[in-house]
């Protein structure tokens, strides 16, 4: 089991030093992904999911950001110990990343063919002409119609869905695609296009046995894609389990609240009023050492304010960080 972990994050702490104080964006995070597996990292704005992703590719802007402590093992190697030069070889090779808005990750003044070809030139040492031929193959692989013509397009000439396909093509062009980090990859897309992109990601992932870290706030996308799920809230992981357990037997009050907040939850077929979580996400500057969900949790007691809970093992690799896990009736 242990050596099957392609990505293994241990005790990660990331802070941002702002004028107003220190924001502890990620706290004591443990996370792992097996080879070929899809882990969904779920949570709302400010929960630390994107900061986690940036830490894995070591693109935390520093200053103000700083990885305070922790280890990130990628294929057995602690990447936090690598030099910037060594890290550059890993980015776009073993790790690739796609973002919510492909327009901001593609260079607007270069043709998409040239942008894909660059990967083949840098990582494979190919000549320009061969690299362009490979770029056409990649576009074909992500099902872009008439790829020979499309290599000559500029990013603005493509639709949002097509641009996201290009990003996926670039991610897959690497010599050793090991893990793809997808940060809200379909949030900006229309639902019919979202379905196409999710489908494509699933298909390609199976084909090349790549691990996928899917960052999203949409529990529907999670249900569609994930094998395991980790739920984050205000910098902390609060629950992790396989996808079925998360949807069918969640233990953390926040996970339950998140599921109940979704209008597509089957329980609202007949009853319109949603069971919403009251209150707002706390200011990360003001969070102490207690459970960050304490101020919105209707089950909170004194201990929750003062102490973040120890891990509770509910069996079957289902872990919960709640003082009262297993004792609450939702």
């Amino acid at each position: 089991m242990e050596n099957n972990k392609f990505l293994d994050i241990k005790g990660l702490n990331v802070s941002f030093y702002t004028q107003k104080g220190v924001v502890r964006a990620v706290r004591d995070l443990d996370l792992w992904i097996n080879k070929g597996e899809t882990l969904a990292l779920v949570g709302e704005s400010g929960c630390g999911k994107s900061v986690t992703a940036s830490s894995i590719i070591r693109l935390i802007p520093s200053p103000p950001g700083k990885i305070e402590s922790g280890e990130i093992f990628l294929d057995g190697q602690d990447i936090l110990k690598l030099s910037e030069e060594e890290m550059q070889k890993i980015r776009g090779d073993k790790i690739s990343m796609i973002f919510q808005d492909p327009m901001t990750s593609l260079n607007p003044v270069f043709k998409i063919g040239d942008q894909i070809a660059e990967i083949f030139i840098t990582h494979y040492g190919l000549k320009k002409k061969e690299a362009l031929e490979r770029a056409v193959e990649m576009l074909d692989m992500v099902k872009i119609p008439s790829p020979e013509k499309r290599v000559k397009s500029y990013p603005h000439q493509l639709s949002g869905g097509m641009r996201q396909r290009v990003m996926i093509a670039m991610a897959l062009a690497s010599p050793h695609p090991g893990i793809m980090i997808a940060d809200e990859p379909t949030t900006a897309l229309d639902v019919t296009i979202q379905a196409q992109i999710l489908d494509l990601m699933k298909e390609l992932q199976e084909k090349i046995q790549m691990s996928l870290l899917l960052i999203t706030h949409d529990m529907g996308v999670v249900a569609e894609m994930a094998s395991r799920v980790a739920v984050m809230y205000a910098g902390r992981k609060v629950e992790s389990a396989d996808v079925y357990s998360i949807f069918e037997k969640p233990f953390h009050p926040y996970t339950v609240g998140l599921l109940n907040s979704m209008p597509s939850n089957e329980k609202y077929k007949h009853n319109a009023r949603l069971e919403a979580i009251e209150g707002n996400v706390p200011n990360l500057l003001e969070i102490g050492d207690g459970c960050p969900f304490e101020n919105r949790c209707k089950y909170a007691k004194d201990i929750c304010r003062n102490k973040f809970p120890e891990i509770k093992d509910m069996g079957n690799n289902h872990h919960v960080w709640c003082h009262f896990a297993g004792e609450l009736n939702f």
Binding site: S45, D218, Y268
Partner: protein, 322 residues
Amino acid sequence: MEKILEVKNLKKYFEIKKEGLKATESHILKAVDGVSFDVYKGETLGIVGESGCGKSTLGKTILNLHQKTEGEILFHGVDIGNLSPAQMKPYRKRMQMIFQDPYSSLNPRKKISYLLRQPMRVHNLDKEIDVEARIDQLLTIVGLDVKYKNRYPHQFSGGQRQRIGIARALSLNPEFVVCDEAVSALDVSVQAQILNLLMDLQKEFGLTYIFIAHDLAVVELISDRIIVMYLGRIVEEAPKVSLIANRLHPYTKALFEAFPEMNPRNRRVKKIIVGDVPSPIDPPSGCHFHPRCPFAKDICKSHYPDLKEVSPGHKVACWLYE
């Protein structure tokens, strides 16, 4: 049931000018192209569709925020599309809008109390009622603490700002509110709070909503009736129950099929429609959906089907149901 709004064959075209080095090309973008429907008192009419389908333009045109190109917008029988701004003013008070982005729809340099006072001033209500008491009342209605009224918009979270937007829309006691993607920018847990608030307010004040959104689950939850749009036209219109039980138009089916379900055990192989939404500047001939439609026949390529009622209240524009 009392009709408060009748929209008849409404069109809103935009002229798009592309300036080249030598010549200026001009195109007509038919954002809303011959749309007819009624809105009944106290109901929520949901309008769904993907980007570029014209749903937001439709919302703004109904409120006369865009000058219509053609057609009628009858609000309680009066065609408001032809009114001058001065004539329009008394109607403005009765119809309001809640916008998607609570960040850009509130002036960052004004205090909340000012933002809520301004509509009442514009409509000269400040002489009739105690405006300050009304501001307190509005804040309480939308679930904000009265002590916040001297704060600025940036001091609030997204959800709180949307509450302020709602308070401002309600400040003139409207009967009809257009919510344009009113919860789309919010986090899920906050979105649930705002949806509950909108539903509570509707009950309390007997409001009529047009609820425009791209999130199908949200629209299905809040609406009594639903209109599905594609490239400027209505493809299906039905009571919610009827639409859930029986989606007729191939586009409606594809749209709802594509929406991810909340159940990992239902991860079946889906029928996903191919292709992108075409450009509204140059939509496909005939039925605009035909290039993506698995059931397209010859007639679909040449003629646009009429919106026809196939069962009570359930209308569809598709040659399969002729």
